[in-house]
Amino acid sequence: MADTRPISSQSQSAEEPAKTVPFRGGGFVVKPLGVIAPLVFVVIIALWELGSQTGFISGLVLPSPSESFEAFRQLFDSGLLFVHLSASLQRIVIGWTVGSTLGIIVGLMIGLSSVARAGLAPLVSAIFPIPKIALLPLFIIWFGIGEGSKVATILFGTFFPTVITTYGGVDNVDRNLIRMGQSFGLSWMSIVRKIILPGALPAILSGCRISGSIAIILLVAAEMIGAEFGIGAYILMAGSLFATDQLIAGVAILSVMGLCFAWVIGRAEKYFLNWRT
């Protein structure tokens, strides 16, 4: 069979339609758009205020943002804001740090050892679903009604989700990379620290986002136990008095705490995961 290699006469005539090759790459990469987030909040709050003002949203349970802000101002003026905040922050920071650290350690154990997985993973599945609130009486016996039980509540709440995300992340680390580490005679500890931990880090950080939010949620549960000060105690008090303006002010403080925490995790992701696209 003769070769049919194109010669100029066979090539496309000049009248053929010419277009640039369409771009089909790109996308699937999320870029930060700084302006939208504040806008969304402003719009939501404005709509809510409008709704309250026009009576569309009944004042019965949901006060207007301005009323809530007024309650917040009172709290601020009374000087108690910082007392509440510092009490709560201390509990959260200790509880979350210890809970997450233990969670990462146990998660690594479950991810790395068959025995630990067989023994601990079902325990985690069995204990995680137990509502902290139901156990408050026990917590009081075990940890007293001082700071102990409050920190313990947050600690327990953050421990379990961290365990689960950590071992999920470990399971997902490319085994080829581990084999590489072994082939270079890296110690077990080095492999865990330098290969498995960084490989599981995206999952762990995503777990931190969750556990951080849970820690904030649990402030309320934690401060049910003999707490005089704390944002959670403030919210509980407002709730029991049905002082909805204070309630919303307290909840807004929690929201802001959540936003700050998310921002920190976002920074950590930027810093630790900058190797990703």
């Binding site: 004042g59 019965l60 349970v61 609130i133 408050l136 009486p137 026990l138 009081i140 016996i141 007293g144 009604i145 049910m224 136990i225 003999g226 707490a227 005089e228 105690a233 509980l236 008090m237 709730g239 029991s240 008095l241 049905f242 002082a243």
Partner: protein, 315 residues
Amino acid sequence: PAAAEKITVGALRFTSHAASFVAYERGYFKEQGLDVEFKFFQAAQPMAVAIAAGDVDFGVTAISGALINLANKGAIKVIGGALQEEPGIDGQMILVSKKAFDDGVTTPAMLKGRTYGITQAGSSFQYMAHKIAQKEGFAGSEIKMKPLQKVGAIIGALKSEQIDAWSIVPHIAKGLAKGPTIEIIGKIADYIPDYQVTTIFTSADNAANKKDLVKRFLAAFSKGADDFNAALVDKTAGDAAGEDMVKLVHKYVYTSRPYEKAAPSIRNGAMRINKNAKLNLTNVKDQLDWFKSEGLVSKDISIDTLVDASFVETY
């Protein structure tokens, strides 16, 4: 008669809500042309909100800050009295831990400087503690309040001697005092005579626009209360009636326990429910004043905002 009017009654599964159960079981609501459906709640506050929201028509609960604030928002009204402290009948009791008892807290007068378990700032427990202090002649702030949210949590704290004192309804108090770690040192009735523990309330809309409905509800409720008082409080109806009453109540309370275990708790928990839903306005006023003095509710709430006294006899 016309088709029965459908209403919803909120209830907690406590013996103190028995009057409604009796009225329902014995057809007193039907007699009044009411087709009652119960909605059970796990706490009083959601019930109050549900009434404010119009999902539930009537409820029974203690006077709380939430109730007053809801009333202040024009959502609900107290229309009658229910549970009542009464000298001579076992009422709420004052408990201390063994440790505190051994330490010399043998009478309520010694509570000065001690810790006292309450569910929430502004709860009835704090009110009771303050009344004790008032009568014994020291400032309420000299008893250290420990908010623990839940009755269960307070019991745990008391048993493990992390708080010194508490006050609670008789059947729980007696049960606890049977153990080695808790002692009874007094009665609330000695400090707050005629304490109006719980009240009947409804939405402000019902109170203003459906006066007839409210009256019929109260009538049926009172009839239930009479039966209950006769059977378990005054015990004038005889043992068989008492037995029947316990069985009736057991349909609603302690349902997950066998009858033999539930019966003593039900009997011990029986306190008087006011005849004809009479309301002790004096005591309610005292409670309202106390909330105001603690800064828990706004100073300019008047008793009329809270109570609609047009339905029952008040004193």
